[in-house]
Symmetry: C2
Subunit: 292 residues, 2 copies
Amino acid sequence: MPVEIKSVVRTAGGLLVKFTHNSEEIGLPMTASLFLPTNALSLNEALADSENKYPVLMYLSGLTCTDDNVCQKGGAFSQCMSSGLALLCPDTSPRGANCPGEDDSWDLGTGAGFYVDATAEPWSTHYRMFSYVTEELPALLRGAFPVCDTGRMGVTGHSMGGHGALICALRRPDLFRSVSAFSPICNPVACPWGRKAFAAYLGSAEAGAGHDATALLAKMAPGEPLFDDILVDVGGADSFLAAGQLLPEALERAALQAGQPLTMRPQPGYDHSYYFVSTFLPEHIRWHAKRL
Amino acid sequence: MPVEIKSVVRTAGGLLVKFTHNSEEIGLPMTASLFLPTNALSLNEALADSENKYPVLMYLSGLTCTDDNVCQKGGAFSQCMSSGLALLCPDTSPRGANCPGEDDSWDLGTGAGFYVDATAEPWSTHYRMFSYVTEELPALLRGAFPVCDTGRMGVTGHSMGGHGALICALRRPDLFRSVSAFSPICNPVACPWGRKAFAAYLGSAEAGAGHDATALLAKMAPGEPLFDDILVDVGGADSFLAAGQLLPEALERAALQAGQPLTMRPQPGYDHSYYFVSTFLPEHIRWHAKRL
């Protein structure tokens, strides 16, 4: 699994590494960014450091984004540095899969992988983002960036990536010790974005129940919480909240019924943008660091 | 001087206001952003606050930038909030002046006003960025945003904007109480970027001496420093430093000769990007806040 380093940039006292690799799950080259909270000035020096192993927070991005959005606008790295946490930022879909229609709309196809393994043609060949982020990327870290401790991973994300964070954690609590989200799509089988994506990738909206955080919570054995808490921030002036795309109340209700502690924080006046995410991401990083 | 509010976004606990206005100096509509460290949830509420007057840090941006770059990537607002400092982010040039050649290269014309008042045709009609940022914008703040205290202003900037910050402060120490810069073009009459810009805007590179921080320091009365300190950060891996565009050593020498205290901090491993600026901007904000 050779990794090609595209750039190494010093920021916030650490190193931000952008790399590509030929993904076996996706069947195409994929790009991701990884922030290492190292004092080293070069990647070689950082990787030679056998004293430190960094816990890893994976940040899953939203519709239309790449790894760049959170790296440039997230305001995350100073806190990652002081918390000693690596931040792994994957892309949001395959690029150049050549599926008919993949570039026709911004909420399906390119930039909109929804963190599921597609089962329906023509998507099923390349659109395997669930396995990519939960299997291949952790294995890649172990191989290419052994300074990362994939035994201590948390996951967070924004919007479509908040949905991704929730389902990755609920489906793989063995892999993720902590989970939080920003303005997540909480109940995709019941909202336009999710129904459209699941209909395409899985054959029907209903087939998405296994990739729907609210539905997954509803299926949990009551009184056996998977996490000590789940932290969710939602902006009060979020136009997608008003449009019924996020449905946080459904997630809250399901968590309550399952006995899964969940802290839902309405944040008055905040919208859906990175001006919102960057406001609270440092606090989420501290919250994860405590649990990792 | 009516101001049209384009957007008000809550971030970092405060409000980020984007506005346009018909600039008299520029003779065209201009856009700028202003962060207010207010707890108010609306601009009206913020402006009705007669208890607080915020000192103002002006951030001048670099070649090709608009007000958006630092707002989205600067990581400044949390620190502005805790320091109680407003951040004013002007654009970098007129837009749509229709000067022949203004869009032919990224280092002259649109996005490249160099914070001078052009005297040569065809630029002299609209390219009046020095008067715009030192006269018109402070007056606009007093009129439209009286919660800003323009009696307590500092200035900073990046690259071309670092040059702008230095010359604005050295020429107008009555207006600016503090000045710092990131990777500034320190001696534009002696570097390719500056010589090209001054030749166009002022008729010759040499005519730029009055807008060159190093030359301005050389003309200062020795032993009569204008500021208690000037803070400058330059990345050690900055490709424009290597290419001889920044010339910080010339500025340092001139400051030493003038007896003007100046703290030049080489920052090992950092490049010219916002990954560098965002690393040190919070510290600059604290540094200015102490002086305002």
